[in-house]
């Protein structure tokens, strides 16, 4: 009997040890290393790094720019996301499912692909404008190479994020709270202004904070749109410094990345403050309110919503595809001149590009597979564990994703610049350092849906197995894994899709031989080969659509809300 008990305790300790190891390696270690570089450079306490960072004029300009586009992008995303969420959730517009799918898709497309696609719409070389004969004369700068362009694209990229969060909040709004206001004499807009939107404050503020952090940490959009206009934000400043100075400037960029982290944290803390100022807890559950009858406005509103889809999704993708078919710079696209040569070139001929396809495939598959297997025990402890340190655990898993990707990339660089102690293995300048960063950054994308899955499971299923005499590992293998696997795998798929086109982390960590698709697109565009960049991007967008379709096939077996594009 005591032997059995010992074995049980052993298994639980092994689980705990494994989880602690994952957290330490992928969350605490890189963050600690980054902080050490800033305040303890070379092993002794010093504020020199901070001081030299603070006196630099470039730092201040980039910080100011970061704040400007961060706030601007957040505001734009909020307005669009909230408006669409209100219309979809509270009015009687038709074809909701299809609309939500289209509206959320930009979130699934990598930011640099979005940026590239939009760039193809405007400017003198735009194939679409050339076909229409409306292209501005050669030499005119692309209007998107500006802070306004960055704000516009950040808003479009992250409006779906706002939409998803606010929509989830609106779904929980009980109809009585709306009806009580109506029978108090309030018309629909008054109800919206005085009851519905105020009650949505936590969702809206939460979405704002998340969007702000995403905008501030975004690299792809300001890299494509800002660098040509010499409008630098902190992530692009770090990239330029590192590309120009190499490891010598690590301390300096470490400070810059901590600065981004601080800006992001201020956003999160502000959100927490605002949400706690008033009581927004909705305690009752009930049916959702009857949809508002748009009446004569229904068709115009629906047309407006689909026009929005045309602008944010269809036109840019069309621009992307058209560019990928162009024969060369300045050649007007027509049925005769269209060519698939660019696709052939990037897939078969260009060595770095074909390498990158394989690299990204391996990297994202490995990151996804690892995350699925790590997420099941991790989420088990987070969802069902009773220990007090669990809240801290959850926070530690969220941190590397909550902080901008640049921060984690710099932390990984610092951590692995020198060969690892004892073993002497060197992973700097190999594909492994990118894998490490991906694991650390994306783990939470698998943990979140898995935790949701656990909450929807009846714990008695596990307890029944326990009563039947199954040890922890046996229960994990035979009961928990089969039940929770769909949710975890869906999370893995999200990781795969996100990592496949990832740029922020790999732009700072890649080396010759370990290029990723994101890096290749970026290099093509920087080198003026938009047609090749567009071809690679078009392939990636098609892959994304296929993956979304594939995931939707087993959507019925997944917990609600795991696939963001399913309404």
């Amino acid at each position: 009997m005591s032997l059995v008990r010992k074995e049980r305790q052993g298994q639980e300790m092994a689980l705990t040890a494994g989880i602690v190891a994952i957290i330490v390696i992928f969350s605490l270690l890189p963050m600690a290393r980054l902080l050490q570089e800033v305040v303890l450079p070379g092993g002794s306490f010093s504020l020199d790094v901070i001081r030299s960072g603070l006196v630099s004029n470039t730092t201040w300009v980039a910080t100011w720019n970061t704040l400007c586009v961060g706030l601007g992008g957040t505001l734009f995303a909020l307005v669009m996301g909230v408006a669409v969420a209100v219309l979809v959730s509270l009015s009687d517009v038709r074809h909701r499912q299809a609309f939500v799918l289209c509206f959320v898709t930009p979130l699934m497309i990598a930011p640099q692909v979005t940026a590239l696609a939009w760039l193809q719409l405007f400017g003198p070389s735009s194939p679409m404008l050339n076909m229409l004969g409306m292209a501005p004369p050669i030499g005119t700068p692309n209007p998107l190479y500006s802070p306004e362009g960055i704000v516009l694209l950040l808003g479009i990229q992250y409006a779906p994020l706002v939409f998803l969060i606010v929509r989830a909040g609106l779904r929980k709004l009980p109809r009585e709270l709306v009806e009580a206001a109506q029978s108090s004499g309030a018309g629909w807009f008054t109800v919206l202004r005085t009851v519905i939107l105020p009650l949505m404050t936590p969702s809206i503020v939460g979405a704002a904070a998340l969007t702000f952090v995403s905008c501030v940490g975004n690299f792809g959009i300001p890299a494509f749109l800002g660098i040509p206009a010499n409008y630098l934000v902190l992530p692009t400043l770090i990239y330029q410094r590192l590309a120009g100075g190499g490891p010598a400037v690590l301390s300096e960029v470490a400070f810059l990345s901590v600065l981004i982290g601080v800006i992001a944290m201020v956003g999160i803390v502000l959100q927490d403050r605002i949400s706690k100022r008033r009581d927004f807890r909705i305690t009752s559950t009930s049916l959702p309110a009857a949809p508002y009858q748009l009446g004569a406005w229904r068709v115009p509103v629906e047309l407006g919503m689909w026009a929005l889809i045309a602008v944010i999704l269809v036109l840019p993708l069309l621009g992307l595809i058209l560019t990928s078919l162009v024969r060369g710079y300045g050649v007007t696209l027509s049925a005769d001149t269209a060519t698939l040569e660019n696709y052939r070139f990037v897939v078969f001929e260009h060595a770095a590009a074909s390498r990158a396809f394989l690299n990204s495939l391996y990297l994202s598959a490995a990151a996804a597979a690892f995350a699925v297997f790590a997420a099941i025990p991790l989420a088990y402890v987070i969802a069902w564990g009773k220990q007090r340190w669990i809240k801290a655990l959850n926070l530690a898993v969220e941190l590397p994703y909550a902080l901008p990707g640049v921060v984690l990339a710099i932390a990984s660089l610092l951590l692995f610049l020198k060969p690892m102690p004892i073993t002497g293995i060197q992973i700097y300048n190999t594909v492994w350092i990118i894998l490490y960063a991906y694991l650390a950054r994306f783990l939470v994308l698998a943990v979140r849906p898995t935790v949701t899955g656990y909450f929807q499971l009846d714990r008695a299923l596990e307890e029944a197995a326990q009563v039947a005499g199954a040890g922890l590992f046996t229960r994990m293998r035979t009961i928990i894994f089969p039940l929770i696997a769909p949710a975890a795998i869906a999370g893995g798929l999200l990781i795969f899709m996100t990592a496949l086109c990832e740029l922020t982390v790999s732009a700072l960590l890649w080396s010759s031989g370990s290029e990723t698709i994101g890096v290749v697109i970026f290099s093509f565009e920087q080198g003026g080969d938009s047609k090749y960049a567009a071809a690679v991007s078009a392939i990636m967008v098609a892959t994304t659509f296929l993956l979304m379709l594939f995931a939707s096939l087993f959507a019925k077996r997944l917990p609600d809300g795991v696939l963001p594009w399913r309404d």
Binding site: L177, S184, T190, T283
Partner: protein, 360 residues
Amino acid sequence: MAGLSIENVTKRFGETNALDKVSIQVADGEFLAVLGPSGCGKTTLLRMIAGFETVSGGRISIGGSDVSTPQMNVPPEKRRVGIVFQNYALWPHMSVAENIGYALKVAGVSRAEREARVKAALALVNMEQYGERRPANLSGGQRQRVALARCLVAEPSLVLFDEPLANLDVHLRASMEDEFADFHKRTGTTILYITHDQAEAMALADRIAVMDHGRLMQLATPRELYHEPANEMVASFISQGMVLPADVLTAEKKGECKVRVLGQELVVRCRPGEKPRRDARICCRASQIEAVKGKGDGFDGSVTRAVYRGGAARIEFEPDGAQQTCLHFDQPDPVSFAAGDRARLRLTSGWLIPAAGEGA
């Protein structure tokens, strides 16, 4: 203040009729309860009166003017109808005073007047000192009082209660019942009160409308419902009445007639104009059954169950030759019956349920 008129109202959800030609007239200042088992359509009725659902047929008018017909529907915010919800529906982001003053603010009432009226409404429900509180910090009974004050402050022509006590515990229910009754007496507001709890309906209402499967079964005073149910549904629903098959032997005379039930001849109360007929039904109450000593008038059978309830036992009894019929009555201490005992019972009185089709 104004009355409410519901005429032939029908509500169809697809193929099913949630409400089927319901007509109810509520007088100005009346307290009318709508009573029925869940799914009987009472909530749909309330939502149509408030304007949240449209009618498929018939008309609803408040204070003499039509608000709902199949052709038009006055929106809820234009009806001046107050609602007290089962789950209170207080807005968590507003203080108690803000919740109450909402309707006035929407109507553009000046700040000073608003404050005075909110204060008066708080006083009406004995909550003067709670104006600055958040709804989350109130008990269930206090929340329901705030909800009451909120719907009163706009001086609605009609107040609808949607099972307002269903979320409260038994003790609180009794005291809130008193408050509602008291409140109705003071304000004289017309009230339509939805509930599935008959004790609550009996205690509060001037008249009760009993509904079942979307139809109005009977609209009468509590006393009349109990003593003179119009049909079998009402007879068995109200206070667990027993419905027994009987033959009417004589025509009505002075509100009574003679019937044969379970082999026993019995004089029961009845409607005017009843004639002798076969296959009739009577309703009798537990208090109208008593045990017979020896070989007196009555019928034999066996006790199927005896449950002691403190001071008295509830006895369930099956008469010989009528296996489907189960009678129940209370025998006070000393309880002598046990399950399996043979016994002889008799009915002392009853009510002849009018033949189907004679209307409510």
